[in-house]
């Protein structure tokens, strides 16, 4: 269980951080105007920060995607463990993909590869059970369930159309 500490910074915003198992303090500072800094504490001086990196809304969304999707996949994989032959994977939709800007239905993934898209992660937000009219965007991460071959085929479909 991770214990996130919330510290008000009067006149500036709030600091939310936790101590990782390796002894590093990791967290974010949310400024009053809404912009966010990512902070990581120094190894030799846990009071100080080795870095304080300003992130735009898009960048923090991207970071949340990178960190959040594997967590979701791990959870789903755990649930599907009993069903042999079924794998959960996260498939990124590259910004240049032919399906960026088109609906999930257009990919016809289920018909072509028997793979189900159980969720789409965008900007750190999980959209569960997307409908066929869900509009995909470059940078989305599709959380998919299927057989190993089906998933490989799905990667091709998403890349080449």
């Amino acid at each position: 269980m991770v214990n996130v500490e919330v510290t008000p910074l009067p006149g500036i915003g709030t600091r939310q951080d936790f101590v990782s198992r390796s002894g590093r303090r990791i967290g974010v500072i949310t400024h009053r105007d809404g912009h966010v800094d990512l902070i990581v504490s120094k190894q030799e001086d846990p009071d100080a920060c080795v870095a304080s990196i300003p992130l735009s809304a898009e960048e923090s969304g991207a970071l949340a995607n990178l960190l959040g999707a594997p967590h979701l996949v791990a959870q789903l994989a755990e649930q599907h463990r009993e069903v042999t032959g079924v794998t959960t994977r996260q498939l990124p939709l590259a910004p240049g993909s032919p399906y960026a800007g088109r609906t999930l239905g257009d990919t016809a993934l289920r018909t072509r590869t028997a793979v189900s898209v159980v969720a789409v992660v965008r900007a750190g937000i999980v959209h569960p059970s997307p409908r066929p009219d869900f509009l995909l965007a470059g940078g989305d991460i599709l959380v998919t369930v299927g057989t190993a071959e089906g998933l490989t085929a799905a990667v091709d479909v998403l890349e080449r159309g």
Binding site: L9, P10, G11, D33, D47
Partner: protein, 393 residues
Amino acid sequence: MHNTAISLIELGAVFFGLGLLGRLAWRIGISPIPLYLIGGLAFGSGGLIPLEGIEGFTAIAGEIGVVLLLLLLGLEYSAAELVTGLRRSWLAGLLDLVLNAVPGAAVALMLGWGPVGALAMAGVTYISSSGIVAKVLGDLGRLGNRETPVVLSILVFEDLAMAVYLPILTALLAGATLLGGLTTVGVSLIAITVVLVVALKFGRFVSMAVDSPEPEVFLLRVLGAALLVAGIASQLQVSAAVGAFLLGIAISGSTAENATKLLEPLRDLFAAMFFVVFGLNTDPRTIPPVLAFAVALAVVTTLTKVATGWFAARQQGIARMGRVRAGAALVARGEFSIVIAGLAVSAGAVDDQLAALATAYVLLMAILGPVAARVVEPVALAVRRRLQPAPAT
């Protein structure tokens, strides 16, 4: 017509010059306040280039600068933050008050400026510049540090102390008797309590009175309200600055944040004017006689602020390096020291040399503060290495 042209040229030159100075200041990593003061000294009486014809405008612009500085100081912290800050850091806050006010008061008494002069100088050396401190912490990437909330809570306490101090100072400057002074103290304590309660319980009504979705309407309303309150307060002998400050505290929530965003550029403009005017009214020839005192005060109050930060951070269980960082962060004095000196000088109740001493002191501290915050880590590391010689190899 000809006069207007000359005034415009003079004003333009002043603002443009200040712009250049400001850029230079941030380039070399110090606050622009000392450079503005030097600019004022250079232009004013006894300076290099006496400016004439725009005194009317610069004087009122300087007054507006003070109102905006104090309004934004009030807006900076919400009433809830002030109350929590008071509860959490009152001990360190009191130590800060005693350690840093006493040197200023002592020097003023030594120079024979009497109790009112001592009170004014106590304020000058006590109050850290929240503007410089916040900017330096942000620039150095220390907002995520564990000692930073400690530093900020000291600033919050100083903010509250100002709310009590300013009315008392202005009452005494206006020549109130001891009894009258005590009444003012009582009135100001009641006023600040009422404002805090109003801000905590009914803050949204105050905010509603000035709020508007249209930025320009909002700007006009906030600015209008601030000047009205400041003017009325001034008429009631409570000083315009105090009125604006209390209004700032009473405005809360998102209204306060939006107001801050809108008013910041205006404050920077008028506050720059205020520093220039203060410099203008200070004769540079009065500085050398008090320079030694300014340097001595700078040395002593740097050490006392570091001690304050050290104590406050230690209370929160922060390691040594964090303690010295907290102390060094608090060293900077700036805008509010000048505001206090300005109040004292314009009331005419203190020795004229006070302006010279305050100017010299703030010049030193506004430069020393950011530098101290920057070099404290390498210096502390070097000292530690000196004290603990490396093991023989």
